[in-house]
């Protein structure tokens, strides 16, 4: 019903009052909090908050990925250095006549074989680093491990079964590059989860603690997802 008997001045006041009500402000605040910044970093990063375009085999339809973790990129330095040495090894061999007893064609195949092994070494390390991830969703923690490209191990535990969360960060490299190990004790089938060499372990622990509190609140309020 339109306001017929109210003067225009009062109508303007009413409109102003409506815009400034505490309820509206509260709603705007809540909406603002829920609009969490989605991580715009590339999917090759080691710490991705609310990543887009990520899915995994055992994911529930309504499950939301809060954090995707990998080992810190600095942990790849070792194999990168070894790969560089392997790439330049045949060049260094010119100074050391190790393969001189072989005919020319055998030497060529030996060098090709060496580069084949180098390629396999690099590929295996890249794939192992990229696909070994730790995922924290709003309901679970998941540890995805691929050992030597052949063996797959996926462990998960519900957030409400987490009993204790701690982290360890020590040493010059870890302190400088801000990465460490997160240890999670659960009442699940797998009692211990270890997120090794992950970036920002303090933030990971904080997130897990927040999720644990949220789960407890849901349990108290009787909310079901």
């Amino acid at each position: 019903m339109p306001d017929i008997f109210i003067s225009e001045e009062k109508k303007e006041e009413k409109k102003k009052v409506k815009e400034n009500t505490p309820v509206e402000k509260e709603v705007k605040e809540i909406l603002g909090k829920t609009l969490i910044k989605k991580d715009k970093k590339s999917l090759i990063a080691s710490y991705l908050r609310n990543p887009k375009g990520v899915d995994f085999e055992i994911k529930d339809k309504k499950e939301k990925i809060e954090l995707l973790l990998r080992m810190h990129p600095i942990t790849n330095i070792k194999w990168i250095l070894v790969s560089i040495v392997m790439i330049f090894a045949p060049v260094a061999l010119k100074s050391f006549p190790i393969l001189d007893f072989l005919p020319g064609n055998y030497r060529f195949i030996a060098i090709l074989g060496w580069y084949l092994i180098t390629t396999s070494f690099v590929l295996e390390n890249i794939l192992t680093w990229y696909f070994n991830v730790y995922i924290i969703t709003d309901e679970r923690i998941i540890d995805v491990d691929f050992y030597n490209l052949i063996y797959k191990d996926i462990s998960s535990a519900e957030i409400e079964r987490i009993q204790d969360v701690s982290y360890r960060m020590g040493g010059v490299t870890r302190t400088v590059f801000n990465y460490g190990d997160v240890f999670i004790q659960t009442a699940a089938e797998k009692p211990n989860f270890e997120f090794l060499a992950v970036p920002k372990p303090d933030k990971v622990v904080k997130l897990l603690q927040d999720l644990m509190i949220e789960e407890k609140q849901e349990a108290i309020e009787g909310r079901v997802r």
């Binding site: 990520v54 195949i109 890249i126 996926i154």
Partner: protein, 74 residues
């Protein structure tokens, strides 16, 4: 060719056989890598599946190329 202990013994022929066998095993490994990358990308979709698959196929092609080279050159 280098010195051989037994002049009539097909040393390099046997060496070629072993080398080809070794590279053939590596070709099989190349197929295993392709299959495993496929399994990995089925387990986790992280946005770079096409690149991972391409790298695995390139690796396989490299192993086959080395096998063919060895067959022709040795």
């Amino acid at each position: 060719m280098g010195q051989v202990i037994f002049p009539n013994f097909p040393t390099w022929g046997i060496a070629k056989g072993f080398i080809l066998f070794g590279i053939a095993m590596y070709v099989v490994f190349g197929f295993v890598v392709v299959r495993q990358v496929k399994l990995m990308t089925n387990t986790l979709q992280l946005g770079y599946e096409a690149i991972a698959k391409t790298l695995s196929y390139l690796h396989l092609m490299f192993t086959i190329a080395v096998f063919i080279f060895a067959l022709l050159i040795l």
